[in-house]
């Protein structure tokens, strides 16, 4: 039972991390109508910036700040240089151009930082386990990730509902011509939204980089999961991204834990683990298919 609760926490942490990725993707799509495959590269840039700064200064907080700044700057740069030309294009051109950006960023990063993974560690003040009520020992750092993720979700909610920028973002989602008609500098708004999405991805990359490995190509698997998340949640919906992310996080973690056990009831142990884990790796895609059959535009997507 305790193990199950711990796994739920793990699923939550994974989900929250996916949310940071998915939020930027879904915002960019909602406001600008752009599909950005290079979002995973921004995640990687955040992790590399954090590792570089942590290596130079030894400060984890500075490293986090650097990840935000570097990813936002990279985001703003590609928005101005490339992405801006793609808003009026069809999705096909967007897919191809951002695919090209992945190639450039991945190999460029390898050229700059080399082929070996970089080192980024959890700071001392966040390392080690903490005791939760009920006798669960749980990683302090992972709790912090859950906390940061939920705080970002709350912050995004407030940003979108309570601020002037949020009003413009919502206006942009509703009608692109309208915000131009309102006299809002649309290209600045777009750059801002894109950089915001990039910064969230960079933050996710840095936080995850401390417990995983910082290496070229780390972004793409997460990117694809983030796609699954926003397809489930409904494209353009930040709320959908949160719900979808947590759903995917829990499904993946609990599926990987429970399926082999379930198969173990009916067959011999080692083939049960093999089949169970094979099935578990497909579980979130099956979840996605089911959601699509029931609601083709996702849980919170606009009705077609």
């Amino acid at each position: 039972m305790l193990l199950l609760i711990e796994q739920v926490l793990n699923g939550l942490q994974f989900g929250v991390m996916l949310f940071l990725m998915a939020a930027g993707l879904t915002l960019v799509f909602g406001v600008m109508g752009l599909i950005n495959l290079a979002h995973g590269s921004l995640y990687m840039i955040g992790a590399f910036a954090a590792a570089a700064v942590a290596g130079a200064t030894g400060s984890f907080l500075l490293a986090l700040a650097a990840s935000l700044a570097a990813a936002a700057a990279a985001g703003a740069l590609i928005e101005v240089a490339v992405i801006r030309r793609l808003y009026d294009r069809d999705h096909l051109d967007q897919v191809l151009a951002t695919f090209a950006l992945i190639l450039i960023f991945s190999e460029g990063t390898r050229w700059a930082f080399g082929s070996f993974p970089l080192y980024l560690d959890i700071p001392a003040w966040l390392s080690g386990p903490v005791s939760l009520p009920g006798g669960i020992e749980y990683s302090r750092y992972r709790l912090a990730i859950i906390g940061v993720g939920l705080a970002v979700a709350l912050g995004l909610y407030l940003l979108i509902t309570r601020t002037r920028l949020g009003i413009r973002i919502r206006a942009g989602e509703a009608d692109r011509e309208m915000i131009a008609a309102l006299g809002i500098d649309i290209s600045r708004l777009y750059t801002l939204v894109f950089a915001l999405g990039a910064a969230l991805a960079g933050l996710a990359g840095a936080m995850v980089g401390a417990i995983q490995s910082v290496q070229v190509g780390m972004g793409e698997p997460v990117l694809i999961l983030a796609f699954v998340v926003i397809v489930i949640g409904g494209i353009g919906s930040v709320k959908g991204a949160l719900v979808g992310a947590i759903l995917v996080g829990l499904t993946d973690t609990l599926g990987g834990y429970l399926l082999p056990i379930a198969f173990g009831q009916v067959m011999e142990a080692s083939s049960a683990t093999a089949i169970g884990s094979a099935l578990a790796s497909m579980l979130i895609y099956i979840l996605m298919a089911v959601v699509l059959i029931l609601r083709p535009t996702g849980l919170y997507g606009a009705r077609a």
Partner: protein, 327 residues
């Protein structure tokens, strides 16, 4: 129109010149490269039917490529070890015969396309892109973790499969075989594009409401196109596996889906000769740039970016202008 013909002729002349040169210069490797280009072009001809005519941006065509590859791998590996694939409810033996393998590859990838298409086509636009991508990943992970046929290590086939009357181990003969298949597929794509079905499919891409108003369901048109598209790409997968005498889950990887799409776009979306031109260019780039720098993918990325931003319509589109689009 005449410029279009001139360009297509040039592409063909190149397709002739390379193998002839390779043959007489004693450069069989060049022939291997040309065969690779032809097979990738075949995969792209498949995608082009869905993408160019149907407007279906599938980022998961590697799924069909991989299924075709595994159809070959599974059949040939059973034939190689003389073990039946199934002995109940009926005995199924492996085979080393290309025509049988091709048929199985096309049927299985067509069935997969039917299921994936029926689910994915409930959506459109960005959803469709992401969902096809996700289905491709699902099969990728399945192939990796399914131990029966080598998992991540893949399957090696020691001797290339046979085709009646040919010695497929001779590079030139295998090249000629793949080129003939490509020619047939291009002829099929051409006929489809001009048929009543092609007309309705192209209309569904541009004005779906109009197609509904004339009493035709865009969903069924698209699904049909998606299945045909998946079958051709699946056939390409079987040939690709035979070229390499090897299958592995990387045939399912999303980078491969991206590569097939890049070929279609480099060549020119909806152009009959686009896939051939695009595949020839990509394979050449891979080969030439790869020799120039370890970081050659940076240049490839920059080139792609340039094509998207400044040379819309791909090679053939740029050279020919708009007159032969969807021809």
């Amino acid at each position: 129109m005449s410029r279009g013909i001139a360009i297509n002729t040039a592409v063909l002349a190149l397709c002739l010149a390379v193998p002839v040169y390779a043959h007489f210069a004693g450069e069989p490797f060049l022939l291997t490269l040309a065969t690779r280009a032809v097979i990738l072009a075949l995969a792209a001809v498949g995608l082009n039917i869905a993408l160019g005519h149907g407007g279906l941006i599938s980022l998961g065509h590697a799924a069909f490529f991989g299924i075709g590859g595994y159809a070959m791998g599974i059949l040939a590996s059973h034939a190689q070890t003389f073990t039946p694939i199934a002995d109940w409810p009926l005995l199924i033996e492996g085979t080393k015969s290309m025509p049988v393998i091709w048929l199985v590859a096309m049927v299985t990838s067509g069935l997969a396309a039917l299921v994936i298409g029926a689910l994915s086509l409930r959506t459109s636009g960005v959803y469709f892109i992401m969902i096809t991508l996700a289905f491709g990943q699902m099969l990728y992970y399945f192939a990796i973790s399914w131990p029966a046929y080598g998992g991540e290590d893949g399957l090696s086939i020691y001797v290339r499969n046979g085709f009646p009357g040919l010695n497929t181990l001779v590079p030139m003969q295998f090249f000629a075989l793949t080129a003939t298949v490509l020619a047939a597929a291009m002829a099929l794509a051409h006929v489809l594009g001009r048929s009543a079905f092609g007309l309705a499919l192209n209309a569904a891409r541009q004005a779906p409401a109009r197609v509904e108003a004339v009493g035709v369901r865009p969903f069924r048109l698209r699904l049909t196109a998606f299945v045909i598209s998946g079958m051709i790409t699946g056939l390409a997968g079987a040939l690709f596996a035979d070229l390499n005498r090897f299958v592995s889950p990387t045939m399912f990887s999303w980078q491969l889906s991206g590569e097939i799409m890049v070929i279609v776009i480099l060549g020119g979306v909806g152009r009959l000769f686009g896939p051939l031109a695009g595949a020839a260019l990509l394979v050449t780039l891979e080969h030439v740039l790869g020799g120039v720098s370890d970081y050659w993918q940076v240049y490839l990325g920059a080139l792609l970016l340039g094509v998207v931003l400044f040379a819309r319509g791909g090679i053939i589109g740029t050279l020919a202008g708009r007159d032969v689009a969807h021809g």
